[in-house]
Amino acid sequence: MTIASSAQQGAGTPFSRRLSRRRLVGVLAAVAAAGTAIVISHHDGGPPATPVPHADAAIAGTPVTVGTDVCGSGWTGGRAGPQTFAVWNNSIEGLEVYVQDVATGKVYLDVENLGATVTRSASVTLAPGTYRFSCLPGDADPVVGPVEKVTGSYAGAVTPGLVPITDNDLAPTLVVYQTWIRSRLPVLAAQVRALDADVRAGDLAAAKGAWLRAHLTYETLGAAYDAFGDDDAAINAMPTAGIPAAGDKNLAGFHRIEGLLWSGAPAARIAPVTRALIGAVVHLRKDLAVPHMNTIDIGLRSHEILENALQLELTGASDAGSHTNLATIGANLVGTLEAMKPIRTLLQRSDPDLAETDRWLARSQRLIRSFDHHGRWTSLSRLTRAQHERIDATLSQTVELLSQVAVITDPRRAADQ
């Protein structure tokens, strides 16, 4: 769902994922290298530079040198329990640095985006075992460090490890998920045509039902946070606070139609908007016909759909008159489960709370469905305080658990790639 006109076009895909959520080792590396070059040229013509690269001794922890030639030098294992490293990148590239269990491949510490020449403090609590540092430059092969033993025992909680989930792991899931989205687009297209037909026939009571069916289909597709870019702006842009949706000429798509239908506007005023919606859905199908997602997106979508629902639906911000926010949340829950389906095998391997996440999703679904009275949905304003609190709490707990899905499926490189 697009908030006003916040869409910004990114490069690489038809859509504009917020770049801040992407892992940008490669880009950072380029920036860091350029920075170094500038520093060097600065010394041209002056007294001979005596660059003695060294770690920043003020940074807390056991000094550990990482880079493109060495990785983990300075670390010799030690006792089980909490360890803090002052990780110094002695190279001219940005790095990602792992502390990895040699036997299981699990990563216990991931120092991301460690810029050239930077020293950063990082902590981890290790159980006894054999570990090594792995250094992953943005655009070069990984370098693995020597294997070191961690000995003794530790009674406290140790840092949980994760076998990195890689682009290779995620790529097939993207195919599955995008295939599912594409399979829903003919349904959506038929439903918006039916809506348009009802409006043209002047049967506005039927049009309301058609609107809800079409809108709910769209709300399962995971368009949260600009996932569909400008297409979402044309199909499902948010009403502007304080401006009635019906009269907002800058507003297109479902919520404009909703405002018109539920404010009693004549069919002739609505028809151009429903016709435009048909066109917008056609355009979406065209854009979605090609791969449009990055590997990071699928995990993000698993929690962002419901984040969006909490922010825009549960507050009523998206309501342009139909008072069907709870129905929308129900569709968003379906969309969340669909986004999780392809990554379920990966989650079964890596997410210790998957079963609980599923229980909370099911609980959320049961709760939301209890407000569906044969197609007539309780409006937010008719909820008792206790009902509203229960929905708030249930969805919020669910999305807390879903945030783990995004973190765990954040694509990482395998150290032996």
Partner: protein, 416 residues
């Protein structure tokens, strides 16, 4: 809803909170109790900075504890689906409060979850004099959690007194968290962490933030009417007096589990400060019965002089309807009605007419709600001060007994 899922159990158990492993994982700084019983009982002061209060004890911290600078009051409704989920939530509150009031490095979830801690207080969470005081409201003792028979005898929906204008949406609630610390960021941080750990089981019904002023220039901090507030508190170091006035006696009408707890009254009182500022200081002093500059009773010279009602039998100096004379007549008969006040100022925003919305989060603890707070409040009905204040919210709560030992948790006794 059948509610088969343990509330927040994944986050909690995986992080070792339930098992108490968190304490082991964290290099806990030594908790040094500073002035936990006010040494100079008749000169209440704010806590020294950088202190911490022991989390465990017979009584919860935040009751006899000297007032900190910052506070948040959170009234919570329980959305837990059943008794077990409520218990889980109280365990999670206990674990989280234990960590936050002790301080240290938050647990590390590695690559499996978002950060355990918001980072608002930096990598090493300082205790900063934080206390988290948990109390229960009457509505918790309905049929949802099987607690009906365990309700403290005096607990009920807050009374509406003759001069009140209560907005019931900011009254009562299943639980109350009184979160106090030396700095507002510590309070804000604690509120965020506590709510995150109990996301599915507790939701915020209403919230009011407050602060305590430093002594200006000395003695008891002032309220926003410009008067010292809390001068006449009973000495908290007097353990036998505290047993008489503050700690509720189990047995008789009260269930056994209340041992170590106290009735916790919170009243949100708007002060009509623009109006108040248009009243002469003489008239203000007459309403309170105290000197605005020194805080001394009008029969005395210094703040902590006892009001001399005996030699003022005609009410010429301290009027019969002055606040301090009605609130505490200082007679043998009213001696056991005294309460422990622990108020905070609030300063929130503005009214629709541009007037400032500020006032007092009146807070008191007492052993017997009816014998003490309610009796006093009834005596205060129609005092002259009522024209300048609007009590609009708050509630009656029961501060739970303290957590004793690593396996104990807040409210455990209610479920016995």
């Amino acid at each position: 809803m059948t509610g088969e899922c343990p509330v927040g159990a994944g986050r909690i158990s995986r992080r070792g909170l339930l098992s108490g492993a968190l304490g082991a994982a964290v290099a806990a700084p030594v908790a040094v109790a500073l002035r936990s019983g006010a040494a100079e009982a008749d000169a209440p002061q704010t806590t020294p900075e950088e202190s911490s209060y022991p989390f465990e004890g017979r009584y919860q911290a935040g009751i006899l504890t000297p007032v900190q600078r910052s506070a948040a009051y959170l009234s919570l409704d329980a959305t837990a689906a059943n008794r077990r989920e409520l218990q889980d939530a109280l365990r999670a509150l206990t674990s989280s409060a234990r960590f936050l009031t002790t301080g240290g490095a938050p647990p590390d979830d590695g690559l499996l979850a978002t950060a355990y801690d918001s980072g608002v207080l930096g990598p090493d969470v300082p205790a900063d004099g934080l206390t988290v005081t948990a109390s229960v409201g009457a509505s918790l003792f309905d049929d949802r959690f099987g607690l009906r028979a365990q309700k403290p005898a005096r607990l009920r929906q807050m009374d509406e007194f003759p001069n009140d204008t209560l907005d019931r949406s900011v009254c009562d609630g299943d639980l109350l968290l009184q979160v106090c610390a030396q700095h507002p960021d510590t309070v804000t941080h604690a509120v965020r962490e506590l709510m995150r750990q109990t996301r599915g089981a507790l939701t915020i019904r209403w919230r009011q933030d407050g602060f305590t002023s430093p002594p200006r220039p000395s003695g008891t901090p002032r309220n926003l009417m410009g008067f010292k507030d809390g001068t006449a508190n009973p000495p908290t170091a007097d353990a036998s007096l505290m047993r008489q006035l503050i700690w509720t006696e189990p047995g008789g009408v009260e269930p056994a589990w209340v041992e170590g707890g106290s009735y916790h009254v919170v009243r949100l009182i708007r002060m009509l400060v623009e109006f108040w500022d248009r009243v002469s200081v003489r008239e203000q002093q007459t309403m309170f019965g105290r000197d605005r500059v020194t805080g001394a009773p009008l029969t005395g010279t210094n703040e902590f002089d006892e009001p001399d009602f005996g030699h003022d039998g005609t009410g010429d100096v301290i009027h019969f309807d002055a606040h301090i004379r009605l609130a505490n007549p200082r007679t043998t008969a009213t001696d056991d009605q005294r309460i422990l006040r622990r108020a905070f100022n609030y300063d929130t925003g503005t009214d629709s007419n541009g007037n400032l919305d500020m006032g007092l989060i009146f807070t008191c603890f007492n052993a017997d709600l009816d014998r003490q707070f309610v009796t006093i409040q009834k005596r205060l009905a129609d005092e002259p001060l009522v024209d300048y204040i609007v009590p609009f919210g708050g509630g009656y709560y029961f501060a739970l007994p303290g957590v004793q030992g690593k396996t104990d948790w807040l409210g455990r006794g209610m479920f016995a």
